[in-house]
């Protein structure tokens, strides 16, 4: 049954399920969903060979909106779940969807170690600088003076810089995308999937409900003026000094991806010999 089907090229719509998203009208995440489905079609993958893994939050609802295998797990733990899945089933294409709260706050430690471990995953973080699902609290990427009920007058805390953290932690592919350009976003996702090892895409995805001013991102997002580098030093300087709206691939490394130990299937009975007297 699989053989003839494999020759049929699927379109983006074939990767979109018929579930109605819980997102607000105008949410950037609709475009990210479109971009993911376009990228999967561009890659000529089949939905049953793709798994979309997520944690908790607005962006983490994405798995069920695709026709792929989905895993909507515990808050902050998408990367470990995806790591286990990919190591156990290396032939699958595994995408991980997260947001700035799920990915950078509660899941921050896993972010560091997923970059370092360099398992062949594509990590798509929809960053809107706010906790949307819990209705408007500051996240690690929220500006220090943004007022909210939980932090009246602002947190006073400097923003977390996910791209620098990813670079310092060893991510093998780093890009910034903008949900307002779904085709460009799709191309970046496809490129990230193709690149071996841990690929990280920070997607600026506006929250029009709690951060309506982010509608203005469409006016400031712009393509990266120069091509990506494979030099982490240069990449660090660019990422540290750009305006935060530089869209495109910023770094492509060539670290070999995490390889599961080479296995030679033997029998459990052979192992038992060590205990025999």
């Amino acid at each position: 049954m699989n053989a003839p089907l494999a020759t049929v090229t699927l379109q983006a719509k074939d990767f979109k399920s018929d579930y109605k998203p819980v997102w607000c009208p105008g949410c950037g995440d609709y475009s990210v969903l479109s971009a993911i489905t376009k990228a999967l079609a561009m890659l000529a993958l089949r939905p049953e060979n793709v798994a979309v893994v997520s944690g908790i939050g607005c962006s983490s609802r994405i798995p069920a909106y695709t026709t792929c295998y989905g895993f909507h797990g515990v808050h902050g733990r998408s990367l470990p779940a995806a790591t286990g899945l990919k190591v156990a089933r290396p032939e699958l294409t595994v995408l991980v969807a997260s947001g700035d709260g799920d990915g950078y706050s509660i899941g921050g430690n896993h972010f560091l170690h997923a970059c370092r471990r360099n398992v062949d995953l594509t990590y798509i973080v929809m960053d809107n600088h706010v906790y949307g699902m819990t209705k408007g609290q500051p996240s690690p990427t929220t500006e220090p003076d943004w007022p909210s009920k939980l932090a009246p007058g602002g947190t006073g805390l400097r923003e977390f810089h996910p791209l620098v953290i990813a670079l310092a932690s060893g991510a093998n592919f780093i890009a910034r995308a903008f949900s307002g350009d779904p085709n460009g976003c799709a191309t970046l996702i496809a490129e990230a999937v193709r690149h071996p090892g841990f690929s990280f895409i920070e997607v600026l995805s506006p929250c029009v409900t709690f951060r309506p001013e982010q509608r203005g991102w469409k006016d400031v997002a712009h393509p990266a003026p120069v091509a990506f580098t494979d030099d982490p030093g240069r990449a660090a300087r660019r990422i540290m000094t750009d305006d935060g709206f530089n869209i495109g691939v910023l770094y492509k490394g060539n670290r070999p991806p995490y390889g599961a130990a080479q296995t030679s299937p033997g029998s459990v009975k052979d192992l038992e010999k060590a205990f025999q007297l």
Binding site: G73, V74, A81, G84, R89, L112, T263, D270, F275
Partner: protein, 560 residues
């Protein structure tokens, strides 16, 4: 051949010394030598808080029968030196019949040992070792202990050849000299068992690892924690030999989620930890319950709460294992009740987790996990139960409401069956749902899977007959079994802790008028659990105390 007087069917020996003295090396060799001589045995260990090089003691029970218990008193305490060894006094009880072997070069034995009335037998371990180039005092001490219990020199030599990479010949010579030192002491000669069958030498942690592999586990996520680390370290190379893999996680939140991710991918998965790690894993175990993803967690319990005493045993995680998750989260809790039972119990846990698509917790503990035992070779049991997998096609319902509650699980890669595994409450298709009807139906389904489980005879070890019964679990079972030997008292050691089996316990306790509940924790978690799930007949007494000291038979007999 030496003349042998009355033989004992059990002897208990402790070998202590400061860091680098080779106490554990010699202790392990003595256990190997006893095995080579055809005896059964159990070795536990204790050490000071130092990371490396601290004082340590190897505690051996050698016997003509299989045992998981320590005796009330040690027959022999041998010390290579006395530096800080006094701190082990509570763990090495002596009596007037005991002897203390010490090197006079290191002074008299500490008063805390001498006041037991034990006889002091000075042996110049260091001086004797010094007579042989390349020999060490620990090998002389090994020889002394072997000589005291009448082990043949050939058995000691065989053990040395198996264990020693360098200094073998001087070591063997030193052991011979040690044996000669105690040629005249015959009080502790050990009888050989009369059934020279095939034996294994295995630790509880290794046994749990082996049980996992026997059950089909091929993915393990690991975060180091005492006293579970050896289990993971045994699995790391073992998995590569059977086509599996192990990932070291950044923390226990990651390790449990890695295991869930791999299992969602269709590969039976496990992680091992201790109390602090289990606490961190609890939220994600709830995901395993709701999304119906099989996973096994071996909790090698240590004293709690918090960091507690990381290197010592306690049965304090029972409440956490049974009641830890938020919401109503039916799952499996199994407790191995001997070192060798760690194999069968863990294999069973994997089988139940896989077939019921649910998390299973194995409650081992430091005592079982780090003890090495000489046991009868356990029979190989082939894989018991497997996951029911979904084929292709149709309108696939991942969480279909079946009579058994078990719904075929699609594995990624299967065309026509894609679904999203979700910690959100969902309907039969897996679509998130906040409807009361879906919640109730799925709660019923998840409860039904567990309540319909029939564990057969595996639910408990039921031994002996009598109007009094001792009900216990886990590592308390060995000492209880020994305390009840040849007494008209029934032993019920629960292996399946959750779900509860009230009908089976009622039947097992038929005719029983008094029940003693034995457990190693401060508050009586097991007693409270029994009271909530079971009708205990007649008068109920509780014997409970926290770790770290293991129960000894006398303590249980006094409570009866």
């Amino acid at each position: 051949m030496r003349q042998i007087a009355a033989m004992r069917d059990s002897v208990s020996l402790a070998l202590a010394g400061s860091g680098g003295a080779g106490v554990m090396t010699a202790g392990n060799m003595l256990l190997e030598a006893a095995a080579a001589a055809g005896c059964y045995g159990l070795m536990t260990r204790t050490s000071g808080p130092q990371i490396r090089g601290g004082e340590a003691a190897a505690m051996l029970r050698l016997a003509a029968f299989p045992t998981d218990a320590q005796e009330d008193r040690f027959h022999v305490l041998a010390a290579i030196d006395w530096q800080n060894v006094a701190r082990f006094a509570a763990e090495i009880p002596l009596g007037p019949q005991s002897i203390i072997v010490g090197d006079p070069a290191h002074g008299e034995p500490p008063e805390v040992f001498l006041k037991s009335g034990a006889r002091y037998v000075p042996v110049a371990l260091k001086k004797i070792a010094g007579e042989i180039k390349g020999a060490w005092p620990n090998m002389v001490a090994l020889g002394v202990l072997a000589g005291l219990i009448g082990l043949p020199a050939a058995a000691v030599e065989a053990a040395a050849r198996k264990s020693m990479k360098k200094g073998l010949e001087p070591g063997i010579a030193a052991a011979r000299l040690g044996m000669a030192q105690v040629d005249s002491v015959r009080d502790f000669f050990l009888a050989k068992p009369d059934n020279p069958g095939r034996r294994w030498l295995i630790s509880g942690n290794e046994a749990a690892g082996l049980g996992a592999l026997r059950g089909g586990v091929r993915f393990v996520a690991a975060y180091p924690i005492t006293p579970a680390t050896e289990l993971l370290e045994w699995l790391a190379p073992a998995l590569t030999k059977v086509g599996g893999s192990l990932v070291q996680a950044e923390d226990e939140l990651a390790s449990i989620n890695m295991a869930l991710g791999a299992s969602y991918g269709g590969v039976p998965s496990l992680t091992a930890t201790s109390g602090p790690g289990l606490s961190l894993m609890i939220e994600s175990l709830g995901l395993g319950v709701t999304a119906e993803i099989p996973v096994v967690v071996v909790d090698v319990m240590r004293t709690g709460p918090s960091t507690g005493i990381a290197t010592k045993t306690e049965q304090g995680d029972l409440n956490l294992a049974i009641y830890g998750m938020h919401g109503d989260a039916p799952h499996i809790v199994i407790a191995p009740n001997s070192v060798v039972d760690c194999i069968a119990a863990t294999q069973w846990a994997v089988g139940l987790a896989e077939s019921l698509q649910v998390p299973a917790i194995v409650l081992s503990d430091q005592y079982l996990g780090q003890a090495r035992a000489i046991v009868d070779a356990p029979a190989f049991q082939s894989v018991n139960f497997e996951r029911e997998k979904a084929g292709s096609g149709g309108a696939y319902k991942r969480y279909a409401l079946t009579p058994s509650g078990i719904s075929p699980m699609a594995i990624p890669g299967t065309a026509g069956c894609t679904y999203t595994a979700d910690g959100l409450e969902h309907n039969e298709r897996g679509t998130p749902s906040s409807q009361a009807g879906d919640h109730l139906a799925q709660m019923d389904k998840r409860a039904r899977k567990i309540s319909q489980l029939d564990p057969g005879d595996a639910w408990a070890s039921v031994e002996g007959e009598g109007e009094t019964a001792v009900v216990t679990f886990g590592s308390c079972t060995g000492p209880v079994r020994e305390a009840l030997a040849s007494k008209p008292v029934k032993l019920v050691s629960l292996r399946l802790l959750s779900p509860a089996q009230p009908a089976k316990l009622r039947k097992a306790l038929q005719g029983v008028k008094r029940v003693l509940v034995v457990e190693q924790n401060h508050s009586g978690q097991f007693l409270r659990y029994l009271r909530s799930e079971y009708d205990l007949p007649g008068e109920v007494k509780s014997l409970r105390r926290p770790g770290p000291l293991p129960f000894r038979p006398e303590e249980i007999q006094q409570a009866l």
